[in-house]
Symmetry: C2
DNA sequence: TCGAAACGATAATATAGGTTATCGTATTGT
DNA sequence: ACAATACGATAACCTATATTATCGTTTCGA
């Protein structure tokens, strides 16, 4: 049987054991980190023996890399579906809504766990960092850029400028709140996030009259 | 001889061995993280034997906690000195200058290493996170607040409002740049940081006419 | 100078966890 | 049903590293 390191980009779930291992490993790595998660613990959580775990995954490192890559891919895919529903209504409402959701997701356990574990392991897995950044921050910016490109208000804006505006929009929404949540402290309130999104939206729209 | 866990707040450097251990431990922990740094490695780097290391530090955990606390204290102290020189000239210039320095220090190796290691170890050392946040972000905000309190432009501003404005000022300067640097990616350019500081300064000053 | 305290070298202890080997059983596809 | 493959249980191996014990030597203050 082929191992995950052989078919790198897409991890196929051939059997239910494979899926169980994938789930358990993802849970363990995101929850406990690379060093904190043990192969034995992952095997137990998946309901398989250690040997079965090793028959599917070459070693801990490749398993970890496959899991993180998989989480990034999955994150990008499901974002696309959400965005279609989010991008309806008046332009400013869309921006504010997107800004709030962006902040909530960023402070949520999924992305935060991902950021923490990848930040911790930049030495061991230098290439994963950019993948995670792309999967969240670049993805949001790119999606908003594609949306704005179809709006009349942005007909006269150069693509490069439009891209910069999108990046600045989301960059403005990070703030010390992201640091606070990364440090395990309580994040901003819903009201604060809404207000921040409003200001960022107004700032963006001010650029196009 | 007393150990560091006995006199918690201030770690006195009684002997040159103590200082060497403190330096080596700080270097190792910030560079390699808590798990990545070994007691043997610290002892070697300090030029002492492992036994001497253990005679000064009760265990690895207390050593780590003492080091991080010490770094936070030292960081706050030296910030005060820099600020006195920074806070001269026209108000807007001061704000822009402070904004740029804040961003540069934040993206610098000192603070970034500190953030990374504390983010990694929030489970084991839950109380250190807030100490680090206070030592950098709260300290900057508090210092700016104290400075603005003496300015005529802020005579009519309520202290609570002024405090919020300071927090918002620095929060605006974090952005995705901080995440990028935490992930080991290249940060913003000097020009981008200057421009961001300018906008944040204008936004702050707009609140007081 | 003298005795107490600090120091160094070394070894031993203890634990944790990644990885592999073996061998017998269960599952599965044809 | 049968052969190939997957699976499980167990043990063993190996490494790294925190921590302690011992004992002889050095340093330093009174």
């Amino acid at each position: 049987m082929r191992q995950w390191s052989d078919n790198h980009p897409k991890v196929k779930l051939l059997t239910r054991k494979r899926a169980a291992i994938l789930d358990a490993a993802q849970e363990a790595f995101l929850q406990l980190g690379y060093e904190g998660a043990s192969m034995e613990g992952i095997a137990n959580a998946a309901g398989v023996s250690i040997m079965t775990l090793y028959r599917h995954a070459k070693c801990k490192e490749t398993l970890f890399a496959a899991i993180i890559a998989n989480v990034c891919d999955h994150s990008s895919e499901e974002k696309q579906a959400e965005l279609d529903e989010m991008m309806r209504g008046p332009l400013k409402d869309v921006l504010v809504r997107a800004g709030v959701v962006f902040q909530e997701k960023l402070a949520g356990p999924q992305i935060m766990s991902l950021l923490r574990v990848v930040i911790t392991e930049i030495r061991r897995f230098p290439n994963l960092a950019e993948a995670v950044y792309d999967a969240y921050f670049v993805a949001w910016s790119t999606n908003l850029d594609g949306f704005l490109a179809q709006k009349d208000e942005f007909k006269g804006v150069a693509p490069k400028t439009r891209k910069k505006l999108c990046e600045a929009f989301f960059s403005r929404l990070v703030g010390t709140d992201a640091i606070r949540v990364l440090l395990g402290m309580k994040g901003a309130s819903a009201a604060e996030r809404l207000e921040r999104a409003r200001v960022a939206a107004e700032e963006l729209l001010a650029e196009v009259g």
